[in-house]
């Protein structure tokens, strides 16, 4: 007996128009995808639409997963782009990359510095604008152009901010080492 089928196997079945496999894939991934998307967009309806768009895309083109890497990462790549394209059509909703309002409690801060060392602190010290760019490009895997669209700034601006953010992080880390 093997365990439950892997995501990649489920995707193959989806390619053969297996609705059961499609449901299983949804059960496994819709939850965390929705949660992660909701951290980028406060509008629940838009998030729901993006999740639906994502799985419709999965149903239509399951073979665009090339078999390298994790299915989860592939799904996220689709989901964040669907969200971005939904956001573009809705000028009244803003993306929330790099939220600055959540300040961890003091004890958590201590824990964090233990866990992440200076990187966490250095990230926290970035300006909200720079952190948004880092989050969109480095962590969410958007291209500079996509990040520019979702953050509503020129592409050149994204590149400059990213360059400065990296420099600042590097400096902060070097400082911590010495």
């Amino acid at each position: 007996m093997d365990g439950p089928p892997s995501d990649a196997v489920l995707l193959l079945r989806v390619a053969e128009r297996d609705v059961g496999a499609f449901r299983a894939l949804y059960e496994r991934h819709a939850g965390w995808l929705a949660l992660r998307l909701a951290r980028r967009c406060n509008d629940g309806e838009l998030v729901a639409d993006a999740v639906q768009d994502t799985f419709v895309a999965v149903w239509q083109k399951p073979r665009s997963f090339r078999g390298d890497g994790d299915v989860a990462a592939w799904l996220w790549g689709i989901a964040i782009r669907r969200l971005v394209s939904r956001l573009r059509r809705r000028s009244d909703v803003e993306a929330v990359f790099g939220r600055s309002e959540t300040v961890p409690a003091a004890e958590d801060e201590v824990l964090l510095s233990v866990e992440y060392g200076d990187l966490g602190a250095a990230l926290a010290r970035l300006s909200p604008e720079m952190r948004a760019v880092v989050q969109a490009v480095v962590l969410d895997g958007l291209t500079a152009r996509e990040a520019a669209q979702v953050l509503d700034v020129p592409v050149s601006n994204v590149k400059t901010r990213l360059y400065r953010a990296k420099a600042q992080l590097r400096a902060a880390l070097a400082e911590g080492m010495s």
């Binding site: 609705v19 499609f22 449901r23 949804y26 059960e27 496994r28 991934h29 819709a30 939850g31 965390w32 929705a34 949660l35 992660r36 909701a38 951290r39 629940g44 998030v47 729901a48 999740v51 639906q52 799985f55 419709v56 149903w59 239509q60 994790d70 989860a72 990462a73 996220w76 790099g98 939220r99 959540t102 961890p104 958590d108 801060e109 964090l112 866990e115 992440y116 990187l119 966490g120 990230l123 926290a124 952190r131 989050q135 962590l139």
Partner: protein
């Protein structure tokens, strides 16, 4: 696997969105590669930011929409907007089986008439004019058409739906009747047209009182009875197809249609049909 996993505290902070940028990013990167932590996030019930069940339903509805049928595509080409094309096309009368069945019966009738004896001709005379009205009735009687129920529950003019479907049925059925009429000797194919249209109009008018199918069955039965009686009396198909009878059918068609339009509001009430 690194052995590192999202601990419960971190999971809670992530779900409640009170984590820091670095921690959130770490959790998210980890989730991409760790099935176990993903399912823990999924099962944190309070994490549900959207109604995932509803999203699944609408997603399935979106992916399971069947390709529009050839008939539906034809309607769209003819200029109907997609949703109306769908509403017209979902009628059970347009499922190929029905059309093939009706065409087969008519073909046999035409064949019988062709091979010669008067009985065959009468058979065709009996069947051909009533086939279109039966099809129309099937196309919007809700006993036969589960699709009609939600359609009429939506605010959509019943008159428009019935007329669209009627026109679609006629566009499909009349050519068949006319074409087969061509093989019947001794008559021009057009003589079947007026009786067929007259009966359709009559059924539409009657359907403002009774269900379309009951109307169609009554009309068909009456027609077959008349044909049978005429057969016993004269043995001549010509009687029914005389000009004055044709004029009578024309009057029937126009009159019935006027009645139908005058009583149109009874259509939107559509029930209770038994």
């Amino acid at each position: 696997m690194t052995g590192w996993h999202v601990d419960d505290q971190m999971l809670r902070r992530y779900v409640e969105r009170v984590d820091s940028v670095a921690e959130g990013a770490s959790v998210e990167q980890h989730l991409l590669t760790c099935e176990r932590c993903r399912s823990r996030v999924n099962s944190a019930a309070y994490a549900a930011v959207v109604d995932l069940g509803a999203v699944l339903d609408s997603t399935l509805a979106a992916v399971e929409v069947p390709r529009p049928s050839a008939f539906e595509r034809l309607l769209r080409i003819a200029g109907l907007p997609p949703h109306e094309a769908r509403m017209v096309a979902v009628a059970s009368a347009f499922r190929g089986v029905w059309l093939v069945g009706v065409a087969t019966v008519l073909a046999f009738a035409a064949l019988a008439a062709k091979v010669g004896d008067a009985g065959g001709l009468w058979f065709f005379l009996g069947v051909a004019p009533i086939a279109p009205c039966l099809l129309v009735a099937f196309s919007y009687d809700r006993r036969w058409d589960p699709a009609l129920e939600p359609e009429l529950a939506t605010p959509y003019p019943a008159l428009r739906l019935v007329l669209l479907r009627t026109i679609a049925v006629l566009a499909l059925a009349l050519p068949v009747v006319l074409l087969l009429g061509l093989v019947v000797p001794g008559q021009t194919p057009l003589v079947w047209l007026l009786p067929a249209v007259g009966f359709v109009a009559l059924v539409l008018a009657a359907s403002t009182w009774v269900s379309p199918l009951n109307a169609a069955f009554t009309v068909s039965g009456a027609w077959l009875l008349v044909v049978g009686l005429v057969v016993r009396r004269t043995y001549s198909a010509g009687v029914v197809l005389e000009p004055r009878i044709q004029v009578a059918f024309l009057v029937l068609a126009v009159g019935s249609f006027c009645v139908f339009l005058a009583r149109e509001r009874h259509l939107s009430q559509l029930r209770p049909w038994r």
